[in-house]
Amino acid sequence: MKALAECPLNKTTTRPLVALVGNPNTGKSTLFNRLTGLRQHIANYPGITVEKKSGLLRVGGSSIDLLDLPGCYSLTAVSNDERVVMDVLGGRRGFQKPDLLVFILDATNLKRNLLLVSQCSELGIPALIVLNQCDAAKRNGIRIDADLLSKRLGVPVVKTVATRGQGLSELKDAIVSALESPSVLSRIPWPDCITQGCGLLRAGLQNSESSELSQAEALRVLFDSDSVFACGVSDKLCLKKLVDSAHRSIRDSGLNPGSAEAVIHYRHLDSLLEGVVEASGPIARSHDSIDALLLNRVWGTLIFLSVMYVVFQSLYSWSAPLMGLIDLGTSAAQDFISPFLTSTPALQSLVCDGIIAGVGGVLIFLPQILILFFFIALLEDTGYMARAAFLVDKLFSWCGLNGRSFVPLLSSYACAIPGVMATRTLSDPKARLTTILMAPFMSCSARLPVYILLIGTFIEPLYGPIVAGAVLFVMHFVGLALALPLAWLLNTFFLKIKTQPFILEMPDYRVPTLRNIFHRMWERGREFVLRAGTVILAFSILIWSLLYFPRNPSVEEQATQSFLREAAANHSEAEIQDALKNPTSEWNQVLTRRIDSAYIEQSYLGRFGKAVQPVFDPAGFDWKITVGVLSSFPAREVIIATMGIIYNLGADVDEGSDDLRSVLQNEKWTSGPRKGEPIFTLPVVLGIMVFFALCMQCGATVAIIARELNWRWAAFSFFGMTGLAWLGAVLIYQIGRLI
């Protein structure tokens, strides 16, 4: 693993570099996993959030660096995924050019898969062709003459069935011999108008780029106005003029410059595949009858709802026992370690409340992440995910999201962490970005305790259970109702990324393999713990220190003295001394709670809360609510425990606690213009709930957004949501006061 960390791409290693290239859904990743086993390294390409999967392939005594490039249909670089492919294949931007390209093709759909191969033939990199899913092709009555194909393409062709590991050793041998005696793809004969256009571009752009464009790159500039190479040209005006004139000559020879490239490639492939592919009769797709049911207006919708119900239930409820176990483990670890550190209370608190609680706070997300990725892998591998996206796309298309946003948003109702991670299934960068930003608005399960506490304390006693239930229901849609219009606003006015056409290929239905599913779960779980987990842990230690320090001992003295003074009013000295001697007496517990409360009030966060209380005053929050709200920024569920401490009830209260409820009902303003009035009026209560619904009070979500996008978007999301939450709470309070 160590050696892999400094593996390929940016540095020149002595090992040969082999890149796997292919369309999505060809079994490329399965093959990659099969070839590398668990000897792989996942990172992001520098500066962008495209996953870089590299691994080590050992054949005999030699080892080879294997790179799994993102799946793409063509070299048209619209998304970041495709740009990476183009950059790597072109050896641009510091990437090491691969020594060998291994094309993974879906044998059931050879012609379309060969388009990418045909485009790459211009690069002149040695290649090897893998015909995967040969079993499915055979079932569909497709016979492929691999030898003839190899002769026509000019490179070796190997047949495999990746899911069952068939043809793997042949493939490994073929890779080794292709590296020893490389052969390149035979090039496609371009019509004159294209060759001339390329010549024009190469001659004209020679001076504006530091290095000359190759023929392959000129083709990209010619056909793809967004290509990375076109972006690299500084003189845009000159570029546009050249491209326009080249397009004119293409048009003059009767071709549409927009589609000419594909048309020419396909014409070439038509003749290339003559006699290579033999289909017995019309191609019978195995999935037609299943689709008739699963995509049916009525049955398809019902099945979709049931499938999503199961996914959601398992995330929401079935993960609970596992999460309970992790909670138990965390407190067991705290209880175990704590006695060893009693002599150094600061260290004790750091280890128990900072580090162990922080690690527990990371691990607590694992069950949901693993469960969600189990389902995602299952749904994708069976081929249902594309169908699900097809069914619900219309619900999301109006606001810039698409059908693939459904699963991430639904999962975010349980927890935004797995939800944000699930957006990896969205290939459109704009839709993915928007989905990530909307995910934290979904009412996650950590908001529920806050709703239950406030509704149970203030709404149910006044308006009865029916209204209470209705309010709880409505609270779950506040975020969604705001998120979708916001997504629309963001997409329409602010995001300057191009919208991609939402096109789904409906893959064949397949029986998933457990091996693949577990690999996916392991990969995601590991990535979360190692990459996001460390940031979340750092967050929780930071917040712990803000709540713990400065920890001036005089705070404890003062709290004790004021407690004793109060006690002395009603009790004799001896009585007090007796009660305090017994460490488990109720008096002692009350005293400890008073001290904890005093410490939190005097902590940096407490002082900060008091200082910023005026900011929350327009929402009717007093300093205690403000501190509660602030302390729940790392994780919103913390508010219950913090309120317990602040209101002298100890940290062990939960949302059903009668003590906490009665304290809240009796809280009154002690100073200021509202002196004597109750703090928790209906507008304040509703305001707090809306605040929690809209606010990004989750350090883990911030960390995961930074991981999936970058810190700028994470900050945008954090401050944007916090501002919105404040606005919501203020509006409700101010309007509520007028009514």
Binding site: N109, D224, D226, N256, A262, L391, K394
Partner: protein, 92 residues
């Protein structure tokens, strides 16, 4: 040539049929793609090229996107994208 060039040199009238106008079960031959560089290239790469037959297999429950069969592959696309794909003649 009102939109500045099509795949085919044939005269195309104002009432050109596009893929989004077909009903479920309809089959037609692709005539070309409306010039629109970004999307045209992408659609063409997927196989929407002149001369090929395309058949609409179904609409999504909410009417959009639509699912079509093209060269043995099942592809789903939104009506907005279907609109840039021009078809020949009448339904068969």
């Amino acid at each position: 040539m009102m939109l500045g060039g099509f795949d085919s040199q044939n005269e195309i009238g104002a009432c050109t049929r596009t893929l989004d106008s077909l009903s479920v079960g309809d089959c037609a031959e692709i005539e070309g793609i409306v010039t629109d560089c970004d999307r045209a290239n992408r659609m063409a790469s997927l196989g929407f090229i002149p001369g090929r037959m395309v058949r609409v297999t179904r609409f999504a429950p909410l009417g959009d996107p639509i699912s079509v069969q093209l060269e043995g592959q099942e592809i789903s696309l939104r009506r907005a994208e279907a609109r840039i794909i021009q078809l020949k003649g009448e339904a068969q």
